[in-house]
């Protein structure tokens, strides 16, 4: 369970103070698949950075499984992310000099695994997202959808407590987007907690819960009784 309490973030913009997060409170339970939607500039990404410890400059507190994780020093946040959190960026965010396997293996190595084991785990993670044939490719030789799947493999490889994804399908066509969603749905069925930002209503409809933001505030928070998981059924990746 992740809990954000009274999150406020103020930035300076043109000399004036701008509240880009305004007293946000959000609790996401274990195994929940939550979508955050809202207009561009609403503060979705900003909130996700706060929750995932990528940002440290905010007021309020963040708890994971009851432990306060906000205000940790920089290197402890890095370690916490390694052990507990997965993050998927809109722009794939792979290291260009590393092959798919090496990109995914890196966090395994950091957790202390030997090179052989880390590579094996990385290949298994890549197989989970349907990339068993592209393990030795450099990112530049992969399509956008494939790169995003490598990024997902890297994020989920360590079985994080919470998986964050910031518009992971924004740069992809609807077929690729559905492939990605299918992976998320499968992970979630396996118990993975996921917080996903999306612009696309269709994708949001597949989750359990839709949180809508505007002007740095949560303006609505709806449970979905019947997630429409079948919207993408035909693209499911086994």
């Amino acid at each position: 369970m992740i809990e954000a309490k009274n999150i406020t973030k103020i930035v300076k913009s043109g000399g004036a103070d701008l509240k880009i997060l305004n007293d946000v409170n959000l609790t996401v339970g274990d195994g929940e698949f939550t979508a955050i939607i809202g207009r561009s500039g609403a503060g979705k990404s900003t909130l996700l950075y706060v929750l995932s410890l990528l940002d440290a400059n905010f007021e309020g507190e963040v708890f994971v499984a009851g432990n306060k994780i906000s205000q940790l020093p920089d290197q402890e946040r890095v370690e916490y992310r390694l052990q507990n959190l997965g993050f998927i960026f809109q722009e794939y965010a792979l290291l260009p000099e590393l092959t798919a396997t090496e990109n995914v293996a890196l966090p395994f190595l950091m957790r202390g695994l030997g090179k052989k084991q880390a590579f094996q785990n990385a290949k298994e993670a890549l197989a989970q997202v349907g990339l068993e044939k592209k393990t030795e490719n450099l990112p530049a030789t992969l399509s956008g959808g494939e790169q995003q799947r490598v990024a997902i493999a890297r994020a989920i490889a360590g079985k994080p407590k919470i998986l964050f994804a910031d518009e992971p399908t924004a740069n992809l066509d609807s077929v690729r987007a559905c492939e990605i969603m299918a992976i998320f749905l499968r992970l979630n069925r396996g118990g993975q907690t996921i917080i996903l930002i999306t612009h696309e209503d269709e994708l949001a409809q597949m989750t359990h819960r839709i949180v809508e933001m505007n002007d740095g505030k949560i303006i609505s928070d709806k449970q979905i009784e019947n997630p429409r998981v079948n919207l993408c059924a035909k693209h499911k990746i086994s």
């Binding site: 990528l54 940002d55 946040r77 890095v78 390694l82 965010a93 290291l95 000099e97 950091m110």
Partner: protein, 415 residues
């Protein structure tokens, strides 16, 4: 920093290097190679100039040990005691006693002199030597560039240093050199108020002034001409056997010479002049080397800094996926280390594979010495350590600076 972090850092650095642009890598390594050579070769040549001159002084003039007359005396006393001690010692391979007198020498003296002409003349040192002994110590016969060396005891014949001849010294002023002297010509030397004519047998050429401005004649002829005793040489050059320390031979000779002569190793006998030049040149070499190190450090700094700046985003991503700062730093450290080690390795191969052999075979022709390339293993080792240290420091600095920045700002390219 724990070992696992170091291991991952090295691996990450290796991956990045492996897929870096080959030309960029080549260029950086090339710059490192040049820096290393600059560091070794420039100071090596500067010091080599002096060392070359010091080497030829020892080889062609003083031998390993020079027994000299005491200051304020005319000759060595009891030279025979010293020579027989030298003969008896297994540590001494050869000894050559030299007997010296100053003289004025003339050439072209048979020609009819016109009213406005003067006979070419020069001041020279006449050296009486035992030709075989001298050759064994200094290899004087190998310095002959025209004509021949003495065969056996020859009276009335001389071997002349090229420093006294105008043909070998186009820039010398009149009054310093003789003209038209070739093997077979005669020169006239002043002796005890009178003169004597010598037939020139050969011409020797050396960069050591003391060798190059002498006229060599046979010892027995010399003692007869000047009425000098064989027991009173002016100097005795000693060549020691291979592997023997000069200091121990010096003691042995001192015991034989007692107060009758001054016994000095080759180095001591050179006086402070060469040592001062050597110190000056090595300081100069140090300054030039220091600048070379600074330039290469700045180069590496800029290369790594720009590389890191363009990779800020990826550094941020690394932090975002849980890679510690120390690992990221180690990956760049590995790259800086690779650049310097690769550059130095190429430099070492060039140095010992071609540059050093080249200079050994073709010494630089300086007026006072044959410039060799003075490089010692320890000197090179020190420069390697300094260069690696400097590049590693220069390579790691920009990373320590960047890696500290806020993860999010790095990824989003803020700041």
């Amino acid at each position: 920093m724990d070992l696992n972090n170091l291991r991952i850092g090295l691996l990450l650095g290796f991956w990045q290097l492996k897929r870096a642009n080959a030309w960029t890598t080549f260029l950086i390594v090339f710059v490192m190679t040049l820096t290393f050579l600059n560091l070794v070769v420039v100071s090596g040549i500067l010091i080599g100039l002096v060392q070359g001159s010091s080497d030829s002084y020892q080889r062609q003039y003083s031998g390993d040990i020079l027994v000299d007359k005491n200051p304020f005396t005319k000759y060595i006393s009891k030279g025979n005691d010293i020579l027989s001690a030298a003969k008896d010692s297994k540590e001494i391979e050869a000894a050559s006693a030299r007997y010296l007198e100053g003289a004025v020498v003339q050439s072209d003296f048979t020609k009819n002199i016109k009213a406005n002409e003067v006979t070419p003349q020069a001041a020279a040192t006449i050296a009486g030597i035992e030709p075989v002994d001298e050759d064994r110590v200094t290899g004087l016969s190998k310095l002959v560039v025209a004509g021949k060396y003495f065969d056996r005891s020859e009276f009335n014949s001389a071997v002349i240093g090229s420093g006294l001849l105008a043909e070998y010294n186009p820039n010398a002023i009149l009054g310093e050199t003789l003209k038209n002297v070739v093997p077979g010509s005669k020169v006239r030397i002043s002796v005890n108020g009178g003169y004597i004519d010598l037939k020139i047998k050969g011409i020797v050429k050396s960069k050591v002034g003391d060798v190059n401005r002498r006229i060599y004649i046979d010892r027995d002829y010399f003692t007869q001409l000047y009425g000098r005793s064989i027991n009173n040489p002016n100097e005795i050059a000693i060549k020691i056997s291979p592997g023997v320390r000069p200091e121990s031979v010096k003691l042995l000779l001192q015991a034989a010479a007692q107060e009758n002569a001054l016994v000095q190793t080759a180095r001591e006998s050179q006086g402070s002049f060469l040592k001062d030049i050597e110190a000056t040149f090595s300081l100069l070499g140090g300054v030039i080397g220091g600048i070379a190190i600074m330039v290469s450090s700045i180069t590496i700094f800029i290369v790594i800094f720009i590389n890191a700046l363009t990779r800020k985003k990826y550094i941020g991503i690394l932090k975002a996926i849980g890679i510690k700062n120390s690992v990221i730093a180690a990956s760049y450290l590995a790259q800086a280390l690779f650049y310097s080690v690769a550059g130095i390795s190429v430099g070492l191969m060039l140095l010992y594979g071609s540059i050093k052999p080249y200079f050994d075979a073709n010494p630089i022709n300086f007026p006072f010495s044959d410039g060799i390339l003075a490089v010692t293993a320890t000197g090179v080792a020190w420069r390697v350590i300094i260069l690696v240290g400097a590049t590693v420091a220069a390579g790691i600095l920009p990373i320590l600076f960047i890696v500290r920045k806020n993860t999010l700002n790095l990824i989003l390219g803020r700041e």
